[in-house]
Symmetry: C2
Subunit: 347 residues, 2 copies
DNA sequence: CTGAAAGCGCTTACAG
DNA sequence: CTGAAAGCGCTTACAG
């Protein structure tokens, strides 16, 4: 009792025309008279015709589908990114196949292969590592893709990959400057995954500011947090047990900052009285009253949105052959966790 | 300079066999000698063959792709749901096309059509309305789908749709009971979208408990929040301005509860001293120190996971023809926003 | 403007 | 076990 799928051949039979005529009529192409066209469209509606996009994709070699590779849907940073990509995709009539790697390189490779096999027209990848082994293959195969959030750092790929990223260097720089101006000299940093460009850049930015002040970070205050809430929590617990504990912690994303906060509060430390805290990303939850996380705002939505647009431009070859490199600006968002509102800048 | 896609015909030429032989070899089917099989597999690897899943889907009428329709990726409730679906899909080798409707029925219809056209093997839909106009068509067409989170309430569809939902009635009941036992008599409710079964059931549960106590809710304390943060905020502002304001607010999801909290704090009301607050869902952010939202825990992840498994069972027809109706239990999570820890139950 | 043929990259079914 | 044919539902290119 399975209801058979209705195809253009069925419609052709009813309309007494050839099936290519139906195809042309439905796709608004010349090759069929206006009267016939209207008749065919009417019949298609009546019989509830759904075009088979799989067949169409096979013959046109275009699926109007994009792959999106992210790390972790539970991290609001990625949620916002997905939202931006979806908005763009919706506007231009593409659909999204969502793939989550959980920071696994094997998983990334698996999804890259699957997405290509599934005939997506291009891939938006937010999980690339600094020395990513997969990107060069995509380039060699001339498969359309765009990096967002993170870029490969191999020199040889420098002018070959389109990307849309955040100005992570400035995020690190501005966060550090804020803490320094508040009088902090002993600042711990909990970084992202240091094999990823965004984390590397944030750290460089933080160090860059210190360098300008002829300061250096005490290596014991530098912890790799891998964007993991648990690692951030544990790192914080260790940091505050130090003989000379930090007076401030700079977590290189808000997701980790929230865990740092939990760790501090669990240890009965007051923020910012006992220790200051600043994050990066400006995720929505950081702004809740009582959290009031000072942070660096980043245009996550825009990054996804623009990334998708850049990719589709490439796919549709509407632009001349060129590589687009887009860097979105960042801003300091002062809330309560650094104590600025109470003390103001000291220097 | 576009690099041509490698197909089984290319491999066939190299291996000096017919292309169906290659297909059989690569799919581990009988019909080709073991030696040849190994040779073919080796060649495929060497030339970097990616099978064209679009072609495969066309001939097999199976794409190993699932559609997932949600309302709003920014709501952590849906994020968790997506995560569960993804986990199941990953385990069984399916990919997910993600569609977001933002509570728009037109959008839901659009995506339902697109997903079918795209040849997904089935659809997981979490956005169905109580009187949903689209579900009966899916049933008529015998298109595999499963409802999660929400179900249609039309009597005629009663025994025709598979679903995995939460025990929303109990969520409403348990939340109300908790507040009542703490001594509250004037409890406001901010509901979800009352054209959706989950919101209706939660409200029924809350009313159900009151009825047992021979109590009724004052209509002025009942507000439809539509799962929107803004509406919850505004509703709260109105509620506290009432001549007889409520002593407690029961928000029918945590996302709204967080906005209620903002509205209360913005009005300098203390939680729970001035007014108690309870949500539903147990989203991660509600558990942060300083938020400490009392809530009803729900197995959002499990709902997605089981939903996907039920759907695939149906698609693969491994089970006898039957309808699965699964209801997941819920639990009261006592934290700080109702003041239980300070006062204990009064009755 | 109209119709019949060829083909997208696969798999299935059927001769040898 | 092996090979050639047919077909999935479409679109494109080419005769009439």
């Amino acid at each position: 009792m399975e209801s058979k799928k209705i195809t253009i051949k069925d419609i052709a039979r009813i309309a007494k025309v050839s099936h290519p005529a139906v195809s042309m009529a439905l796709n608004n192409r010349p090759g069929v008279g206006e009267k016939k066209r209207q008749e065919i469209i009417k019949i298609a509606k009546q019989v509830g015709y759904h075009p088979n996009l799989v067949a169409k994709a096979l013959v046109c070699n275009r699926s109007y589908t994009l792959g999106l590779i992210i790390n972790n849907i539970s991290d609001q940073f990625y949620t916002d990114l997905v939202k931006g990509v979806e908005k763009a995709a919706d506007e231009i009539g593409y659909n999204i196949i969502l793939c989550t790697t959980n920071e696994s390189l094997n998983s990334q490779k698996k999804y890259l292969d699957i997405l290509q096999s599934r005939g997506v027209d291009g891939i938006i990848i937010s999980t690339v590592l600094a020395r990513d082994p997969h990107i060069s293959l995509l380039i060699k195969e001339q498969f359309p893709f765009v990096c967002i959030n993170r870029v490969p750092l191999n020199r040889s790929l420098n002018n070959k990959v389109d990307y849309v990223i955040l100005d992570n260097y400035s995020s690190g720089y501005k966060g550090m400057k804020h803490l320094w101006k508040l009088g902090h000299d002993r600042i711990a940093i909990i970084t992202g995954s240091l094999n990823a460009s965004n984390a590397i850049d944030s750290l460089e930015g933080a160090k860059g500011f210190l360098l300008e002040q002829r300061l250096k970070i005490d290596p014991i205050l530098l912890r790799e947090g891998n964007y993991s809430r648990r690692e951030a929590y544990n790192a914080t617990k260790q940091l505050i047990k130090l003989k000379k504990p930090p007076t401030a912690i700079f977590a290189h994303d808000d997701n980790m900052a929230l865990s740092v906060r939990e760790a501090l509060l669990d240890s009965d430390l007051k923020i910012p009285e006992d220790i200051a805290l600043i994050g990066i990303d400006n995720i929505e939850m950081g702004g809740l009253t009582g959290i009031d996380l000072t942070t660096i705002s980043q245009e996550k939505n825009e990054m996804g949105y623009i990334g998708a647009k850049v990719l589709v431009k490439k796919i549709e070859k509407k632009a001349p052959i060129m590589v687009e490199k887009i860097v979105l600006g960042v801003d300091l968002i002062i809330r309560m966790t650094c104590g600025y509102s109470r003390y103001g800048y000291k220097r």
